[in-house]
């Protein structure tokens, strides 16, 4: 038995560590609460009432595509990668859904599965190029973004197609925020992922690829799976987008490339990999939706909407960074 190495140090309880190591998560929920509060204030000023079930439902339904894309983006960013093709995958899967889904249960189920598989296949292409081909993620996914956008236009040259109302009701019921259940499912999946060998591998790769490899972790396989999962979640985003719009548009997904990265950053996921949570990214997605909602009710000239969106975003990121630094220093 070796001798005692040093005096015993006071141990902080497990939960104290858990809080300390999840400051980013706490911050984004604080940010979300602040955004909701601000929204309620503006809503009250305009309507002399508080937002209710309708507002909640439409907020949730409008956020679903971005929340899905952000979950996928989180997994890739955790490996210290970036998936710019998210927008292209949403374009393509959205167009596919609008063209193919018929108004019967068999078609809906089958095409949902096919669309998710298409997303997986597109993600797999990214993953193989980045993981096996050892190419830079930004270049690879920028190129595939363009390719997927091109394919989407082939599938649906003009906005159109139709999504059966029952499909819309199943995914994004316009009357009740049932879509939250899908999010709940995603959170459960995330918690399981975090405690699985795959989750450990993906976090480890983002921590230090070389060290992960030295520890016997299959780095290439981990990256391929991360991009594939990102494709699946982007495809789910495409389905939700089609369901909310009740029709297809081969360019409607383009904005999601950047907004998914924004949601991830707001959600406290570190762009250098290895740190973050999809739960935070989902909250980040809701923050971006709330910013748009707030602007809508604050009677800002629509021409300036983009300007203020950017301004709010910077403020949110700066406040988050400053608070995070202060909290860490107190530790």
């Amino acid at each position: 038995m070796p001798p005692e190495l040093a005096a015993r140090r006071e141990r902080r309880p497990f939960t104290a560590h858990l809080v300390g190591q999840n400051i980013g998560l706490l911050l984004v929920f604080a940010l979300l609460a602040a955004a909701v509060l601000l929204y309620c204030v503006f809503f009250w000023i305009r309507q002399q009432s508080l937002p209710g079930n309708f507002e909640l439902t439409s907020t949730v339904n409008n956020t679903m595509p971005l929340a899905m894309a952000a979950i996928g983006q989180t997994i890739v960013v955790l490996t210290r990668g970036l998936d710019l093709s998210v927008g292209g995958i949403i374009d393509l899967t959205n167009a596919l859904a609008a063209v193919q889904i018929q108004d019967n249960a068999g078609s809906m189920l089958a095409w949902t599965a096919v669309v998710l598989l298409v997303g997986a296949a597109l993600g797999l292409v990214n993953g193989l190029l980045v993981g096996v081909g050892r190419l830079q993620p930004i270049v690879v996914t920028l190129a595939t973004l363009s390719i997927f956008q091109g394919l989407a236009i082939r599938v649906l040259p003009q906005p159109g197609g139709a999504i059966p109302p029952s499909y819309t009701a199943a995914l994004v019921d316009p009357n009740n925020p049932w879509a939250l259940l899908y999010l709940g499912l995603c959170v459960l999946l995330w918690l399981a992922f975090r405690r699985s060998a795959l989750g450990v591998a993906i976090f480890a790769i983002g921590n230090d690829e070389g060290a992960a490899r030295a520890n016997g972790i299959k780095v290439v396989q981990g990256k391929v799976i991360a991009y594939t999962l990102s494709g699946v979640f982007a495809a789910a985003g495409g389905l939700f987008l089609a369901a909310t719009a009740t029709a297809g548009d081969a360019t409607s997904g383009n904005g999601f490339t950047l907004s998914s990265i924004v949601a991830v950053v707001l959600g406290g996921v570190n762009l250098f990999g290895g740190r973050g949570s999809a739960v935070g990214a989902i909250a980040g997605a809701f923050v971006t939706t709330m910013i748009v909602n707030i602007l809508f009710f604050s009677e800002i000239d629509p021409l300036y909407q983009s300007f203020y969106e950017g301004l709010f975003l910077i403020i949110a990121v700066v406040v988050g960074a400053v608070l995070g630094r202060l909290l860490r220093r107190r530790r």
Binding site: P3, L5, R9, F14, N207, D208, N215, G216
Partner: protein, 510 residues
Amino acid sequence: MTESEATAGGGSPPAVAAVKLAKSFGGVRALNGASFAAAPGEVHALVGENGAGKSTLIKILGGRLRPDAGSMRLKGEAVELHGPGEAHRRGAWTVFQELTLLPWMTVAENLLLGDEPRGALGLIVRRRMSRDADAALARLGIRHIDPDALVEDIPLAARQIVEIVRVVIREPAILLLDEPTSSLGEHEVAWLFDLIRELRAQQTCIVFTSHRWNEIASIADRITIFRNGAEVGTYRAIEEREAITLMTGQRLDTLFPPVPPLAAEVPMLEAQGLAAPGISAIGFTLRRGEILGVGGLTGHGHRELFLTLFGALRAERGTILVGGEALRLRGPRDAIRAGLGIALVPEDRKTEGLLLPMTIRDNLTLAILERISRLGVIEAGAEAERTRRLADALQIKTPSLMQPAGSLSGGNQQKVLIGRWLLAESRILLLYDVTRGVDIATKHEIYELMVRLIGEGRAILFYSSDAEELAHLCHRVLVMREGRIAAELAAPNLSAEAIVAAAVRDSLAA
């Protein structure tokens, strides 16, 4: 006495054997037909200069690199390893020199990586992981490391210990350690050696590399010496002097060159009542032609002192005088302009000092870019000329100065760090642990360089974790304890023992 390969370690078959392994990187031959064998229950040291191929050999045995030629046997079986995972399955685990911990994961997650306790649905149970890790640490006598802390939040020495513990708890049959002591203090080294002795008693085969001869002599059962990518021989006992001759191929009569006495009392750098985070009430005078040592146990403010003198840390109180004039340091730029140069060998070599992917030449001229530029454009001719002369003077071993600095061995990287400030015409050099992890021949070159520099009228403030080195090279030594100067030692009271005694006096008294 040399032994033949066949009889390695007596009767039992070797736990690990390398037979004529070869490995090249680009055009450089790192291993050139290297062989050795170690038996179960044996502690086997691999020694040699930096670049002799020890690390490459360990990486091959650990499955991280694949050899170009040759073969190896683990537990008597000929194997080809396709990755570290395969080596692990065969019972060979490695503690690598550069840390392979995951910084943003907890100590517990790192310790149990790949072996996590599972609950329902095969999912990892984090609370149990924390408890298991704590138990594993406690079993090895470690109670000061919190298993729930992030690795990036614990000190470097603790990280090295976690790295070792992580491997030991997998109960390896073959334990490979690449320079495990280079960032450990004396206390931790004693702990590690007790652990190694215990593992040896359990018939574990332990192969390790080290540059510290007294460590090798105190624990190794046998020693294999390497030179230029191949073994010179395996020995049961060998004198340090003889080993150095075998490692370098040349005779080093004295490791430490004679240091000339001070010619005159000309103060170059003075600190008066200096205080900064981690240090307080620091006062000293560094004179022209002097090597002033700074010693003591790691973590007692040396690093902070050096960073403060260089302007990288803001002083809270006190004065810094250069050539008798008070200096206001707003940042390293002011220090450089005043003639200070720092070779701060970072605790984690990769993160400070050198820009490893840039060329050696760029690294050398980094601090004088303004001086060799005209209208913002670097004059290539002037740059090439100056750096070539300097590299010759410093004996930097490289085929070309256009190679990335990262391609140099540790000792030669240190020379580049020092060389940068010579080009900048710094008259006061702050050298922080520049010889750590450096092989003996290069150490000797650095010592000679230091003596030459003070002969040219420069002054050197020299921190080293090696008390022997301080005792031999310095005119005086300041011993720091808890951020203050606890003692000033000068001949005839200057010795390695006196430095260590002054560093731990209080803790012994307590």
